[in-house]
Amino acid sequence: MSRRDTLLRKLLFSLLTIFVVLVINFMLFRVLPGDPVRSVIGRNVRISAEMQASLREQFGLDKPVFPDQFLATLGQWAGGNLGVSWSLRQPVAEVLMSKLGNTLLLIGLGQILAIFFGVLLGLFAGWKRKTSFDVGALTFSLIAWATPTFWLGIILLAAGSTWLGLPTGGIVSPQNVGKPLYTVLPDLARHLVLPTLTMTILYLGEYMLIMRSSILEVLSEDYILTAKAKGMSHWQVLWRHGLKNAMLPIVTMIALNLGFTVSGAIYIETVFSYDGLGKLFHTALIRQDYPLLQGAFLLLAVSVIVANMLADILYTYLDPRVKAN
């Protein structure tokens, strides 16, 4: 089978998966206990039973879930329309896109740094096995991996704002809102330091541990011995033969993480008042905002599936065995 056929098949399968996820999500939110209208309006307002009925009708909740609500939703999706959020009264696609940018900025930066330093640390720890560097890096990674996000975030927030004068929340300072981000880069950087640092520390441990065990396995292979016998330097062996082979599990890990982290690093967003997708998902769930929930989970499903597809494709380049099959 040619690579094109493989990709096409994967693409079709991915689309099917997305559709199944959509249908399951549609049903899942509707079996949640509670009344969406009540959740949307909250507890502290004077919306009479009559007005609630009027809203219920407007949202289509007065009709049976099957087939009416289901068909209406399918029709909407088919037209490429995700609907209007009940609680925010803005088009779902618009709300999602605006938060997606914020989230990608934070998560992208945090993940790149975590991957870079995690892989580097793991590589050296594996290479220098049983030295004090290895023990130190291992201990640090285990602690970093086990640290609760919220706790680490709050500690860094208190320390960073007290001693370094870093901002306590937000993406840019209030006086810089409304300006394009590239015009306020120093301010943006100051706001990103603490959340990015938190994210980097938390994910670094995971990458380091996997990289370390992976490189240990690779280093015991015969071809490494051969490379050494050919007279290659330590660096050349590690770089050309070790790293590339040891990267395979890391690629899988990165793909999985990137897919799921689009759901937003909800704890980090909450601690640093960073307005991303995670927080939005939470609000949508609390207020039982079906259109927003459906849109959010569609985005999540698509990102996980796309990330996995990318990993698959990357594999065909990294691993000759996959190509041969």
Binding site: L32, P33, G34, D35, V37, R38, V40, I41, G42, R43, N44, V45, R46, I47, S48, A49, M51, S54, Q58, S87, L88, R89, Q90, S98, G101, N102, L113, F116, L120, I154, L157, A158, S161, T162, L164, G165, L166, P167, T168, G169, G170, I171, V172, S173, P174, Q175, V177, G178, P186, D187, A189, L192, W235, T270, V271, F272, S273, Y274, K279, I286
Partner: protein, 545 residues
């Protein structure tokens, strides 16, 4: 390897640059801009469809109403200069102040105010959040440039309160919508109002709102030049921001942090009596209710209710759960309403006495089993004590109450329940024994009293106890139409007493509003029951000289 070194150096440089940079100076004269940190963001700025309290904070700043509540709980004119009601109470006439200008420079006319009221009446499905305030309104008519009259179906006792919640919007912004849905989908993030501040920047993706003082405000320009609202997602970060001076005002201080905020240098923490209450709801649904109530039958026994009330130490709850920032509760109307006018101060709460509570149960025939739980005729006093899972105060309260009840032979099992499920469990399902929950009251007692009416015990209604008492319902209707305040007060007091004696609610406490501000930078805050950030207070705030 070189690339790695370069990358590391780049990261280090970026970090250093970020840490070293000075905090950017506020845009304008820093003394004139009050930076407010709060824990939310308006859902929309459309008064037809706004549910979050943050939206209403903005409405108060940007819009005006015909009348407004004063510090003592009475009402004064805001847009209205004078007002009168006809002898039969069916027509109210308002005369507007002269020279009121919209933010766009146009003059406000009585015609525009009448357009608002009529839109609320005729398109009530669209203006859902106003509906509760215009029930009984027939029509509004402009009489001339500055005066209008509102015709009513029946005399309305709390008319002044009602119009104090009707924000007058510019018809130009709202008259183009043909369906309720279109009207509600309008976010109105650039509102034109007549209020003391106008929005200059609203960024919903950065969650920052900047308002400038309205120089043409009819009641004089605010002393502040600017208000800057910044959203925080957790209260610890907000308190830290106040401490390091990133914000000048924290709109919400958590109970657990209040004592430490009091010790911050240059910060003043404020606790003021608010309008919220928390209560234990006892399942009071009538036996014939559909669906059949699922509860321990003993919960409807007046002796058991009295015993439970006697076994709850409200003062301890306030001291421990609220860390002293509140008052023990008695009746359903909080003491701040109408400056205390509506609160029945003659009610005396039962005093906490575990021995007495045990005696009451003993006398009513509930006998101690070997396992320490009382029973009567096969009914054991084992009950659920549920509370909404989004509360930080209720778990502690539930544990304390369960411990007291255990001492008198009632086994109460506390459990946190998702608030959505709890809504359905209480109304319409009547599937609970005891639930701890709370309310935020209006300044008028009407809403809190309505919560106990049979009319509200329908799906989507606000009656969560199932209490149903025809005599009470009659009094409720009567107070709504009693225009004389003293006569209405008498009825309102009687209703509170009735509820107190029937114990569908055991009111636990009235909690304080906790806020804090940088007193080294700003002064002039006034304590309103909604907080020191009420718009009348913010009008008076100025930088420390």
């Amino acid at each position: 390897m070189k690339k790695i070194v370069v990358f590391c150096l780049l990261i280090a440089a970026l970090l250093l640059a970020a840490c070293g940079g000075q905090p950017a100076a506020p845009q304008q004269d820093s003394g004139a801009a009050l930076r407010v940190g709060w824990l939310g963001f308006p859902d929309t700025l459309n008064p037809a469809y706004a549910f979050l309290s943050e939206s209403y904070t903005m409405f108060d700043l940007v819009y005006s109403t015909l009348m407004t509540e004063q510090l003592d709980g009475s009402y004064a004119g805001l847009l209205a200069e004078s007002w009168s009601e006809s002898d039969d109470g069916l027509v109210w006439t308002f005369t507007l102040r002269p020279n009121i200008k919209w933010h766009n420079g146009e003059s406000l006319t009585a015609e525009q105010v009448a357009w608002n009221i009529n839109a609320f009446i005729t398109n009530s499905d669209g203006w859902v959040t106003n509906y509760g305030y215009i029930i009984g309104f027939v029509e509004a008519r402009a009489l001339d440039e500055r005066s209008l009259e509102i015709e009513l179906e029946y005399p309305i006792s709390n008319m002044e309160f009602r119009v104090s919640f009707l924000y007058i919007v510019h018809p130009k912004d709202f008259e183009g919508f043909t369906t309720p849905e279109d009207l509600q989908n309008f976010s109105n993030f650039s509102p034109i109002g007549t209020g003391p501040f106008k929005i200059s920047t609203l960024d919903k993706d950065r969650r920052v709102i900047i308002l400038d003082a309205n120089a043409d405000y009819f009641d004089g320009q605010a002393k502040l030049g600017q208000l800057v609202y910044q959203t925080f997602d957790n209260s610890d970060a907000l308190i830290q921001a106040l401490k390091v001076g990133d914000v000048d005002f924290a709109a919400e201080v958590p109970t657990s942090a209040f004592k430490s905020v009091e010790t911050f240098e240059g910060v003043t923490a404020v606790a003021l009596s608010g309008r919220s209450l928390s209560q234990v709801i006892l399942n009071s649904a009538p036996d014939g209710h559909d669906p059949t109530p699922n509860r321990n039958p003993a919960i409807t026994d007046p002796a058991v209710r009295l015993a439970i009330a006697t076994a709850i130490n409200k003062k301890d709850l306030v001291d421990v759960v609220l860390q002293g920032q509140g008052l023990p509760g008695v009746g359903i109307v909080p003491p701040t309403l109408g400056g205390g006018f509506w609160f029945n101060s003659s009610l005396t709460d039962v005093s906490f006495n575990l021995a007495e509570a045990s005696r009451i149960l003993e006398e009513a025939g509930y006998v101690l089993d070997a396992d320490g739980v009382r029973a009567k005729g096969g009914v054991r006093l084992e009950m659920r004590l549920q509370f909404p899972s989004d509360s930080s105060n209720y778990p502690r309260a539930a544990d304390m109450i369960a411990n007291w009840l255990k001492e008198i032979g009632i086994k109460a099992t506390p459990s946190a329940v998702d608030p959505d499920s709890l809504v359905v469990a209480t109304n319409p399902n009547a599937d609970f024994d005891m639930v701890i929950w709370g309310w935020g009251s209006d300044p008028d007692p009407d809403f809190m009293l309505s919560v106990m009416t049979s009319e509200q015990y329908v799906e989507g209604g606000w009656n969560d106890s199932g209490y149903s008492n025809p005599e009470y319902d009659e009094l409720f209707a009567e107070q709504q139409m009693t225009i004389d305040d003293t006569a209405r007060q008498k009825i309102v007091w009687e209703m509170q007493e009735m509820l107190f004696n029937d114990r569908a609610y055991i009111v636990l406490w009235y909690d304080d509003v906790l806020q804090a501000y940088r007193s080294d930078r700003f002064t002039g805050f006034i304590e309103y029951p909604t907080g020191i950030d009420a718009f009348q207070s913010l009008m008076n705030v100025e930088p420390v000289k």
